[in-house]
Amino acid sequence: MTNPTDPAHAPSHPAPDPNDAHGSIFDGLLGSDSSQWAFGTDFEDPLAGVDTTIPDGVDPGDLAAYCLMLADDALVASHRLSEWCSRAPDLEEDIALANVALDLLGQARLLLARAAAADATVVPALPEGSPVPPEDALAFFREAGDFRNVRLTEVPNGDFAHTIARLLVLSCARLALFERLATSRDSVLAAVAAKGVKELAYHRDYAGRWFLTLAQGTDESRERLLAALDEIWPLHAELFATHPVERAVADAGVGVDPATTAAEVDVVLEQVFAMSGVERPDRAPLAGVQGRTGRDGLHTEALSRLLAEMQVVARAHPSGRW
């Protein structure tokens, strides 16, 4: 048994104790009630306490594939946002972008765990005895062709205006989707969506405010925003194209057909564009290859480079304990 007062065993950066009268400036702000810790923050089992039974009439393979689609959108978008760490225009925006990235990473973790729980065959095989949990195996040991994210999430960041334009479109679409997903027959998806709605509402607000600011700011900021919007627009339509898996899970009452959100998202985007004095871009959608796009595992080469950086450490130590 270790003695907590023994400096040899004390953690170098102990978590602040909210009951310690001599702690931080946040004393008096922190309550000690357990409600501070929400569903999905368990370090060991992300789905602890949630019913993971697959609802009647749902194909486990389809449910897993659908969870991968939603998870990979969040995971890849999160990684792109996290690339801003230490590089954002100022300290406050640096933290704001990291917060958004962490929200999305949390969504990805729960959805990857759900995919693995629904159909264990989607999880890449690792060496015998590897302690890597299934959600990490899915994040770090799949090839680009197994990722199901839309291509809008994977293209390189560009400048700050580019990130804002992309985040606006992504968060509008994902918020509309999650609002519907909150009534899913799958209790995990419903819980993930209900939690995510609050996060995405803030992301949309953040991106919308910056979109307006950049559009109505200086000549330079407006020019950059318009260029960014024009650049990402060919990737916008893919968000609302229905993949057969999405149709199947929507018919089964556990998923949402993204096409059903398109009109609502359009109205929101039009409002932001109108307030910002920006015309909706007139750019044709980026074609797939033989009809295949991000949801089918067909990606731009940017995804391979992103994954190489994201996965290199985990892949070098498949039996590593973190």
């Binding site: 400036i25 946040f26 702000l29 922190l30 501070q36 704001a96 407006r222």
Partner: protein, 98 residues
């Protein structure tokens, strides 16, 4: 467009009220372009660990403060006036929460 942007955003002071707190507590400062952005920055910088349910921000240059030079005339005279503390009353045993 409007006039050229200034090089640095103004400084704001941030006050946060916790879940169980009755008052807003000063937690730090940050830079923001305007009041609305200051509230959002405060949310992102100072309430990431579930500290708050309410935020106040105020431009630092809107605060009037006492000067360290005036410290003695301002505060020293109250140092020896213990009779201003209500410690000379005896409290009956059946009065709780005192």
């Amino acid at each position: 467009m409007t006039s050229a942007p200034s090089a640095e955003w103004p400084l704001y002071e941030v006050f946060v009220r916790g879940k169980r707190g009755l008052n807003h507590v000063h937690v730090g400062s940050l830079h923001a372009a305007d009041d609305d952005m200051a509230v959002r920055h405060a949310r992102d910088v100072y309430t990431r660990r579930n500290e708050g349910v309410s935020i106040w921000v105020v431009r630092s240059d809107a605060i009037t403060a006492s000067s360290p030079d005036e410290k003695d005339p301002m505060f020293a005279p109250s140092g020896d006036k213990v009779y201003r503390h209500p410690t000379f009353y005896s409290i009956p045993d059946d009065v709780p929460h005192m």
